[in-house]
């Protein structure tokens, strides 16, 4: 407990109000509270995804790597599979070997949705309600398309191939779930479900936010407010989802 008299004596130096950058009453980062908090939330979200990627790196390191050529590759639980042999199907082209084409399409869809989101934010700066609505709708469309692609990919991954994988005990495993996996070690499927699933959940929440933003824009809520900052905040979140996908794509599908 400080002695009150001492405090009073020392307070002389505080009498003149201070007006520095960090002394209150202004915005040192020139960003509103909401925008700053969105940034710090995304930072904490990055920690979560970093934990996933760390787990992925360690688990993968604990398994043997496949060292042969891609042509000679056979699915086995003895080693980590190479991605171009796991993710090599495309909707409507059954039985054909089209490595990574579908995931390339998904990546492009998400990047394009990010661009349409920037355009919505940019239209908000110009207070152009019609443009904001237009670009939000495009973003919603591409986001929903991405989620649909992911649903297809999961279904394919879970269902598996017609021939399946012969196990050591004579049984055959088809597809993958959290306990069995025809493509390789069980943990490969587990990490696939957790990492892409957690990302997909983020896309889904993003779509909910975008739907809200579209309705509010249509109702003129932001126009009456005088600024479209809500679009900016949701935009930050949406770009983060795209950012995470860029990393998931590299670690899961390329390396």
């Amino acid at each position: 407990m400080a002695n009150p008299t001492t405090t009073l004596q020392n307070s002389a130096s505080y009498e003149a109000p201070r007006s520095g950058t960090w002394d209150g009453g202004n915005e040192p980062f020139k960003a509103s509270y909401g925008k700053l908090m969105m940034w710090f939330f995304l930072l904490s979200d990055a920690f979560t995804f970093a934990a996933f990627l760390t787990t992925y790196g360690m688990v993968r390191h604990r398994h043997l790597a496949y060292t042969g050529t891609a042509e000679a590759f056979k699915f086995s639980q003895a080693y980590w599979p190479i991605p171009e042999k796991v993710f090599n199907s495309f909707p409507g082209l059954h039985g054909m070997d089209i490595p990574l084409a579908f995931v390339a399409l998904m990546t492009m869809i998400l990047i394009v949705s990010s661009v349409t989101m920037v355009l919505a934010v940019e239209a908000g700066h110009r207070m152009d309600k019609d443009d904001v609505q237009k670009w939000l709708l495009w973003t919603l469309l591409f986001g929903a398309m991405f989620l649909g692609c992911q649903a297809w990919e999961w279904t394919h991954f879970i269902t598996g191939s017609e021939h399946g994988l012969k196990m050591a005990d004579g049984s055959t495993v088809f597809g993958a779930n959290l306990q069995v996996n025809e493509y390789g070690p069980v943990l490969f499927a587990d990490l696939f479900f957790f990492i892409t699933g957690f990302h997909g959940t983020h896309v889904f929440s993003g779509l909910c936010l975008l739907t809200y933003a579209f309705i509010a824009t249509t109702n003129g809520t932001f126009h009456k407010r005088g600024h479209y900052e809500m679009i900016e905040k949701i935009g930050l979140y949406w770009h983060f989802v795209d950012l995470v996908w860029v990393f998931v794509f590299t670690f899961f599908y390329l390396i």
């Binding site: 915005e27 040192p28 980062f29 020139k30 960003a31 509103s32 700053l36 940034w39 930072l43 990055a46 920690f47 970093a50 990627l53 760390t54 790196g57 360690m58 390191h61 604990r62 190479i82 171009e84 490595p99 990574l100 390339a104 990546t107 492009m108 990047i111 990010s114 661009v115 989101m117 920037v118 355009l119 934010v121 940019e122 239209a123 700066h125 110009r126 207070m127 152009d128 443009d131 407010r225 005088g226 600024h227 900052e229 900016e232 935009g235 930050l236 770009h239 983060f240 795209d242 950012l243 860029v246 990393f247 794509f249 590299t250 390329l254 390396i255």
Partner: protein, 116 residues
């Protein structure tokens, strides 16, 4: 909150109020990201898997991340303080990730290879 007017001016020179859309920097960032991704696909099919290829992939990914964060998320145009308060924790996080994987792999190696 309802009557909160933005104190900062959005018209910082990069955005014209009620004017024409300024989409050039956005499209440039898009071109970079698409180009890098196309190059990654080229590498995935023409270069045999190796540590070098993985390093190239990770470096290119960081480049893509730069374009998304700097241009799409607009961080490049924020104040220095905000840039640092986001980038310093991220840099520490990358350090943590590398350290955890390296150390963890070494510990795992020691445990599982001790009786071989």
């Amino acid at each position: 909150m309802a009557h909160h007017a933005p104190e900062h001016d959005y018209n910082d020179g990069t955005h014209a109020v009620h004017g024409k859309a300024n989409v050039k920097p956005i499209l440039r960032a898009l071109a970079w990201i698409v180009g890098i991704t196309a190059f990654e696909f080229l590498l995935a099919f023409t270069m045999p898997s190796s540590t070098l290829r993985n390093s190239i992939f990770i470096i290119l990914t960081i480049f893509k991340a730069f374009f998304i964060v700097a241009e799409f998320m607009h961080l490049r145009h924020e104040t220095k303080g905000l840039i640092w308060s986001i980038m310093v924790p991220m840099a520490l996080l990358v350090w943590l990730l590398v350290a955890l994987i390296t150390e963890g792999s070494a510990v795992g190696e020691a445990i599982f290879s001790a009786y071989k």
